[in-house]
Subunit: 175 residues, 2 copies
Amino acid sequence: MEGVKTISSQGLAHLSGVTSAQVRKDLSYFGNFGKRGLGYLVARLKKEIRLILGLNRRWKVALVGAGNIGSALFSYKEFRRQGFYFAAVFDVSAERVGQRLRDLHILNVDSLKTETERLGIEIGVIAVPARAAQSVADRMVQAGMRGILNLAVELESLSFSIKALNGRPARRARR
Amino acid sequence: MEGVKTISSQGLAHLSGVTSAQVRKDLSYFGNFGKRGLGYLVARLKKEIRLILGLNRRWKVALVGAGNIGSALFSYKEFRRQGFYFAAVFDVSAERVGQRLRDLHILNVDSLKTETERLGIEIGVIAVPARAAQSVADRMVQAGMRGILNLAVELESLSFSIKALNGRPARRARR
DNA sequence: TCGTGTGAACGAATTCACAGCG
DNA sequence: CGCTGTGAATTCGTTCACACGA
């Protein structure tokens, strides 16, 4: 794929496993950057997609939950490479508050709103046990965050998609 | 919500943010466990859902990638609580192979197939950099795993869903 | 000529709305 | 009478197929 200057909707379809018509419809939704009789310029396409996904800018992120999953994401280079960087870390646990995660002090989650406003944080990442996730999400909305990413929910939907591959066939509904 | 014995499709709709008709259709797909004029018995519903999601059994899981994300998931109690337990851990890195992750030796990923068969592993978890994920997935299929969970892909789709909440409005396609 | 962009046809999923059971 | 379960109506998304520009 290296050195290819241009790619057709069919080529993209082949790579991604969807139909070429789908590729064209989806891309045309964001603008007309294909060239008729030619296809899409790979370099242009790459740039447009980064723009569409918001990967052309850096997002200030707050992490709530400095346990295993939270700490791991904090150290996960890919995540930073995508343009998300951690401006603050919060936790509820008295023993964790005051500790550090790399260069950041772990703050009490009660200061979420003030810190969010002070630092201009836009996105919250929830890495707490599933049962606590909802109340954290509520606080984040309160604090004015524009995006929330809930790792607990993600993990639950994962177990579901695994089941979908495996399950005893579901009893068919009457029709 | 504690102590509630029964819940209507409307109640569930309100909690989950979908329509009540949707709730009823979805549940009826798996069987008829609602009571007319009453709603769904919470205890019954809980049991049925665990069954549907496959949370009533334990799944043997192999982890590939013993880096930050992999180690974190390995230590993440919720994941075990959902019935997934790690029977083996693999990595490519010569320095990691032979080390231990808690009670498990980190094995070379080349032994994936033999170990999968020997231990009866059913699900693979991929926790490697995104660029390496596809080849690991291929090996897992080769090894006969029935479900694959790719954390790299998950993290990518997360960044997308964040954007959906925030993005500058996309240019509308002509109609 | 090749391959996009897009109406039109089609199919799937959601919502409506109500018969019927508890 | 309240609320499920489910056909029918409707909406939404995908695929088809082709006019048109490069």
